[in-house]
Amino acid sequence: MMRKNEPSDLDLEVLQHEENGRLHWFDVDRRAFLKFLGGGMLVCLAAPRARAQESGRSSGGGRELPKDVGAWLHIGSDGAITVFTGKVEMGQNIRTSLSQQVSEELRVPLESIQIVMGDTDLTPWDAGTFGSRTTPTMGPQLRAAAATAREQLLDLAAERWQTDRAKLTASGGKISNPATSQALAYGELTRGQNLVRVIGADPAVSPAREWKVAGRPAPKVDGRDFVTGKHQYTSDLTRPGMLHGKVLRPAGFKAAFVSLDAGQAEKIPGVRVVRDGDFVGVVAPDLWTAERAMAAIRTQWNVPPQPSGKELFEYLKKNEETGGRDARQIKGSVEQGMASADFKLAQTYTVEHIAHAPLEPRAAVAEWNGEKLTVWTGTQRPFAVRDELAEAFRISPERVRVQVPDTGSAYGGKHAGDAAVEAARLAKAAGKPVRVAWTREEEFTWAYFRPAGVIEVSSGARRDGTVVAWEFHNYNSGPAGIATPYAVANQMIQFHPVKAPALRQGSYRGLAATANHFARETHMDELAHAAGMDPLEFRLKNIADPRLKAVFEAAAEKFGWGRQKAAAGRGFGIAGGVEKGGYVATCAEVEIEGPSRHVRIRRVVEAFECGAVVNPDGLRNQVEGAVIQGIGGALFEAITFENGRITNPHFAQYRVPRFTDIPRIETVILDRKDLPPAGAGETPIVGLAPAVGGAVFAATGVRLRSLPLAPKGLEKN
């Protein structure tokens, strides 16, 4: 349906979700833009945002990746394999799954591989680790590099032995000639020299059916470091002479100083106060002293009036960005479809802002060595953060190195480089390395949120359950997963961006696919009910895609859908969809408990298919994790805010899933070795909320159309 030369869904997400603006404006920004524009402050502050959007657009894609093997992997003279990728590890387990794929193609033991990840001086450029792109893009890239290296090694050995290369085999880190019992280790062949062969269009990669290392469970490559506390996250790193930094946070969003008195803070021994533009920070030899110093700064702020949570959905509807390109996706004629329908339905669905709340709050360590800035930070986009730093300090990107230690999770929340810029600014002033590690409250307030949204759906169907008209409007939450996977002849689907979102918003695991699946699948459930059909039967009636049908059937089979009746006070629900190349179907059983009619999820069965599976054990971990994270957004997570302030920035107020919330979870993985692998970090999250909503309806007859569904139980809704 998408027109040619129009941005893809991924580009749209990049535009909508990866541009978060900057938290700080330094004096140099103001001077530069005053000079540039010769005009007032408001214009000045708006200008860099527009500029940043340009760079956000170009970083979404379009760069040529290196084609020579040497950029991606190196074989040491001792046979040690070092792989280079700009992707980062944050719990999704790609350090292991990528190692498996290199091991597979290079025919070397898994243990001989080290992967350098997310280091802007050492690894090829990368747009970032988001959008479930590692498995479908970086996996094939590294498999191709490793297969090409293997072929080159075979050629080198054939040349050395003056023999036919077809007689040689690569195995166990050696090239062998079975006929002569000759063998040379890879390191002896390369002698540590770079591999210079170019990766061709058709590298000799092994088909998934023949995989021996990939396609099987492999334990996390450095798992032991995580159970012993040895692994160092950014927030654990120290540098010689390192100071600890804290940054002053305004009393509300978009606040301006009325007054600032840092006199008491400056009197504390070892403390230095740094002020630049609207940025105020302190450094001290230890965190405790830095915190005391920050608490001693007296400030008054002017917080401008801004939208509050209670008027959120009305605000989103009223502030549509108009005049952009025609974003309607049209198929057939909705009008004609509606005219041929036996019954029609129109409903509105809403989703609140939610927070990623990664357990490691964002952090950075920055160090200036002469003209070179080095920053360690847990980000999903090291190259974009490098550019952000270069822009903030007006230096060329070549003078900035960003390194990403394996990170304490992100879920789409660590795209921006705020902590990196803060640490670098303080380190520059202090002339020493500085670590900035955000508090939980800072993380809940000054990061960014999954966008809230309003989704309006109207539809028409025939008596036999065929959906004949489908109109779908999403305000603000995003275009990911907006297309219906059902075979509907007449459709009109549109994403409506909002001019100025109510809160700083950005990417989140699955992007808007969770919101769009919630609205679509809840609506499908409502249509099924209106048609007097079973929710599964109704969906199957409208599915043409055999892969989608397969996951629905697999989930239903495992769950026992249709073979049993729910007990009193309980209900079953089912939902599914297609997103980022993965197919998912989720069945849920809920129980309504106690006087507040609390919704407890008792059982979840999720079927997932993402082509050929690279690491089945890692995949199950991702799928279960997505289901569990999905419970929070489905039932109780919501950011509350009032006039520029977040009113629940603590775990005591913002409830996330805990042990006592966890149902019995069963996953069914459909391994399609005949299909290329797709990513799995996001799609498994999208089916849970509508499945739970459907189960609540089945149990009670109450149809819930807002996420979270029942933060305080059904009585309070």
Partner: protein
């Protein structure tokens, strides 16, 4: 600043710190024991859990002066002579982690539980560990690992 003597993982450690500084901050920034994590600073997430005389405590809400005179055990002190504690071994075996940031606090909390309740049911484990957050949602594997560790420890 005062000079305090702490017993950490069986060793006496002398440290200069304000007595009201959090034990977490002292362990991480003054003793370089960074295995214990900051997650919220409010005792709500369990990432900073250590054992004080064998009992789980939130080090972010414990003043260092309160810990002086008690036996402090951190994640770094569980393995003996390179041999993992059965709870660590069970977490590794079950791959009961994703990003791993909650893992030290989870393991230390579980060790504290198994010291008191050697044969916990699933509900005991869930109830005892519900103060520990895993945002990656690895809870089912953590439950399985703790039960496995309990079995190993009872055999000893």
């Amino acid at each position: 600043m005062s000079r305090l003597v702490l017993t950490v993982n069986g060793a006496r450690r002398s440290v200069e710190a304000p007595p009201e500084e959090s034990l977490l901050s002292v362990l991480r920034d003054r003793l370089q024991l960074t295995g214990t994590k900051y997650g919220c600073g409010e005792g709500q997430c369990g990432a900073c859990t250590v054992l004080l005389d064998g009992l789980p405590a939130r080090s972010c809400r414990t003043q260092v002066s309160e810990a002086a005179g008690k036996k402090i055990t951190t994640i770094e002190g569980l393995a003996k002579n390179g041999r993992l504690h059965p709870v660590q071994a069970a977490f590794l075996e079950a791959e009961a982690f994703q990003c791993g940031y909650c893992t030290p606090g989870m393991i230390v909390s579980a060790v504290g539980l198994l010291e008191r309740i050697p044969d916990p049911g699933e509900e005991d484990v869930a109830k005892h560990l519900t103060g520990n957050i895993c945002r990656c949602g690895t809870y089912p594997r953590i439950l399985a690992a703790v039960k496995q560790a309990a079995q190993t420890m009872r055999k000893k």
